[in-house]
Structures are given as structure tokens and as C-alpha cells.
């Protein structure tokens, strides 16, 4: 496991050096949430049920927006060549990337969420299901983003292609996530279990898909 944690440590060190990116992402999250009530108007009966969905859409956009260049820097630096020859291998590398990206994007978002929930006047008893669902949902979205970033890296078409590929795949996470967040049957609802199932599927598949995409991208377009 040592090489795996070494990769996470390296990514976190690099993320710390580029920590202004984290600020940009958080501000993006807050701005999307703040824009919704402005567009919909000051009508409490319309706005109240929209709180949870708005947080989910903002989280989805904020998490996926940070993904376009996830592997690009490592490819340009030649780090990917070193990874491919190392004990780590591309699959574990992709998983390590997902973990470090979640720690630097998903986790701060989750910490911001109570503040946003307060801003949107979401009742206190809704917070635990919202936070638990968002915890699993953000990890699932991160894994999806890793797949998208790896595919975009191979295709060399960047962000636009990634959004087209990944946003439709995020639909199950969004549906089960919003339902689980609004459940009135406590934290462990059937929707949360389905959300967990989608996450488990992504956890198993994402590293394999990302590794193949990175490998193929190299053969088709490399030096």
C-alpha cells in the first residue's frame, strides 16, 4: 500500500501549492447556490422545496468542474510514464487520484454544506440525511470525474467532451442522492442504499476504466 499512499501524499502536496484552486471551487459552489433564489424570486412556497436539489446541482457542477485537467499535468510532466513503470500501476494510480481529489474538493464542499443549508433554510432534521447522501454522492461523482478525465486525456479534446460523457452518467447519483437527502425515514433510506450501490459499482469500475483509457490514450497519441 505504500506506493498508493505516496501518490496521494504527492497529490496533496501539489494541491497545497495550488490551494487557490480550492478557493475558486468553493466560491463557484456558493455562487451557483446564491444564483438560484435570485432567478426564482422571493417566494418562500416555491423556494423551500428547492433547497436540497439546488445544493446537489451546485455540488455536482463544482466537483465535475475541477476535473478537466486531472491527469493533464502528470502527462505533461512525464509522471505518467514513471507511474506505468512503477509498482503502483495505472489502476491504483487512478484510485489514488480519486482519493486525493475528493480530499481536496469533495471534503471542503461537504464542510461548506451546513452553511449553505442554513442559507437555504433547510430544516435541521434534514441535515443528517443530506450530509450522508452528499458524502456518498460526492465520492461517486469524484470517481465518475476520474473516468471522464482519463477519457478526455486520451482523446485530447478536453473539457467539452468530458462534460458530454459524464453528466448523463451522473443522473443515477443525482436522482438517488436528492431522494435520499429528502427522505423522512431517517438517514438509512432505500434511496441511500441505491446511492451506495451506484457508488460501489463506480468504485470497482472507475480505476479499471481510467487505467485502460490512460493506456490507450498513450498508444494512440503519445510521442
Amino acid at each position: 500500500m505504500k506506493p498508493f499512499f505516496a501518490q496521494i501524499e504527492r497529490d496533496l502536496l501539489i494541491a497545497w501549492q495550488n490551494r487557490q484552486d480550492l478557493g475558486v471551487m468553493l466560491v463557484f459552489f456558493v455562487i451557483i447556490i446564491a444564483l438560484f433564489p435570485l432567478a426564482i424570486g422571493a417566494n418562500a412556497t416555491v423556494l423551500d422545496p428547492l433547497g436540497v436539489p439546488v445544493i446537489w446541482i451546485a455540488a455536482l457542477l463544482a466537483i465535475l468542474a475541477g476535473f478537466d485537467r486531472l491527469f493533464a499535468q502528470d502527462v505533461r510532466d512525464g509522471w505518467l510514464d514513471q507511474i506505468a513503470l512503477s509498482q503502483l500501476g495505472l489502476g491504483w494510480y487512478a484510485l489514488a487520484k480519486a482519493v486525493s481529489h475528493w480530499l481536496t474538493a469533495g471534503l471542503p464542499l461537504l464542510i461548506m454544506t451546513p452553511l449553505m443549508a442554513m442559507m437555504l433554510n433547510i430544516p435541521l432534521q434534514q441535515w443528517p440525511p443530506l450530509l450522508v447522501a452528499l458524502l456518498i454522492g460526492s465520492m461517486g461523482l469524484t470517481l465518475l470525474g476520474v473516468i471522464g478525465a482519463a477519457l478526455a486525456e486520451g482523446a485530447r479534446r478536453g473539457t467539452a467532451l468530458m462534460a458530454l460523457l459524464i453528466l448523463p452518467l451522473a443522473v443515477p447519483l443525482l436522482i438517488f442522492g436528492t431522494l435520499a437527502s429528502q427522505s423522512d425515514r431517517g438517514i438509512i433510506s432505500p434511496h441511500l442504499m441505491l446511492l451506495g450501490a451506484v457508488f460501489a459499482l463506480l468504485l470497482a469500475l472507475a480505476p479499471l476504466v481510467a487505467a485502460s483509457a490512460l493506456e490507450i490514450g498513450e498508444t494512440e497519441t503519445g510521442l
Binding site: K2, P3, R10, I14, D77, G78, D81, Q82, A84
Partner: protein, 216 residues
């Protein structure tokens, strides 16, 4: 530990033929629709230094990347009995963190020694200690190259070094140090295959492997 390491070329852990540690047999490599390397055979043994020469586009980088397992072989096979260390056009260093942290991270993902002394020895092998604690992005091309090559000192003594234009960006004094490093590695029983010009490590009388390029 490896989930998915599809190396298309067969890289056996034990050499099939007598004692050639690196054995390339009838290798052909396609890039796009072009057959860049055709029926290439090459053997190398402990202590061998080999210069890979040829015009631009002859497939020098392609050959090195194929041996490193980064490109699939269209035909033929490659077997290498020792660890492979690859230094490509790019240095494999992140600009955001220091040279020292880059080297330590590289040693860790490869499972090499990461003690303070091992890193220090590696850094001083190419006189990089003076700038090892600066973020790599402020370093010059040559300084980054020196860090990338200093990294080699962390690898096991018997490893095969694949060097792609190792002198690129190096001044004359640094090139001479590079020659020394390469010769020491060969004396210690390591192998070097370098895409470079012929006066590379001249004192060790390297062998040469010439790629003629596309014959039309």
C-alpha cells in the same frame, strides 16, 4: 498491487536465452499507420552501455518507450530480467513541489529506499543539492534534467536505464558528470541504453545501435 498493467510486450522476469539480461527479438513497432521499427533484434548484458543513434524520426524514442512498456509492439518480443528505469523527454518532475520531494515520491511509488541519506546521496550524485529544496518550476531546463538523472541513483544497481536524449539542456561540465554516472552504473553491473550522439560516455567505449529510419 497492480490492478491493471497491460503491457502488450512480453517482459519475462527470467531471460529465456543464456545470459542476455535485455533481449529484443524481431521487434516491429507501429506508430499510427507507419512501421517505425522493423525486425529489430538487440541484446544487452550486465555492464553494457549502448548508444542508440539515427536521424530524427528513426524511432529512437519509440524504441525506448516500447522497451519501457509504454507502447505496444506490433510483432516480436522483449524480455528484460532487471528493473527498467526510464528517463524520457519529460523529466517526470512536478513543478509545484521541490526536487527533493519529487525524488522521495518517485522512490516511494517504486518501492526504493527513501531514507534521508539515500535521497541526499542521490541528490549529490549530480550536484543538485544546492537547488533541491526550491520548487521545480523555478529551475532551468538543465537543472531539471540533472534532477531527473540524479533520481537514477535511487534505483537498484543492476537496473536497465533507458535514457532519451539525456544530454538535452545540459552544459559541458554536466555532460561530463553524466558520462561519469553512466560509466559507474555500468561498472557496477547495470545496463544503459541511451538515445544520444556517439561521444556519449566515450571513455567506456559504448556499443552503438543504429536505426536507419524509413527506407523509401
Amino acid at each position: 498491487m497492480t490492478i491493471n498493467n497491460h503491457t502488450k510486450t512480453t517482459r519475462k522476469t527470467a531471460p529465456s536465452t543464456a545470459d542476455n539480461l535485455l533481449h529484443i527479438n524481431q521487434l516491429s513497432v507501429l506508430r499510427g499507420m507507419v512501421l517505425v521499427i522493423r525486425n529489430l533484434s538487440h541484446q544487452q548484458n550486465a555492464g553494457d552501455i549502448c548508444c542508440l543513434t539515427g536521424p530524427n524520426g528513426a524511432g529512437k524514442s519509440t524504441l525506448l518507450r516500447t522497451i519501457a512498456g509504454r507502447l505496444p509492439a506490433a510483432a516480436g518480443d522483449i524480455s528484460c530480467a532487471v528493473p527498467i528505469i526510464y528517463v524520457g523527454h519529460t523529466d517526470g518532475l512536478s513543478g509545484a513541489i521541490s526536487g527533493r520531494k519529487n525524488l522521495a515520491g518517485w522512490a516511494k511509488i517504486n518501492g526504493f529506499s527513501t531514507t534521508e541519506t539515500a535521497i541526499d546521496t542521490a541528490l549529490s550524485s549530480f550536484a543538485t543539492k544546492r537547488f533541491a529544496d526550491l520548487p521545480v518550476r523555478v529551475l532551468s531546463r538543465g537543472q531539471r534534467r540533472r534532477l531527473a538523472i540524479a533520481r537514477l541513483a535511487l534505483a537498484p544497481a543492476d537496473s536497465l536505464w533507458l535514457l532519451d536524449e539525456p544530454n538535452a539542456g545540459l552544459d559541458q561540465a554536466s555532460s561530463r558528470i553524466l558520462d561519469d554516472i553512466v560509466q559507474k552504473h555500468a561498472t557496477a553491473g547495470g545496463m544503459v541504453l541511451a538515445a544520444t550522439h556517439l561521444d556519449f560516455a566515450a571513455a567506456a567505449k559504448p556499443r552503438s545501435l543504429h536505426l536507419p529510419g524509413l527506407v523509401t
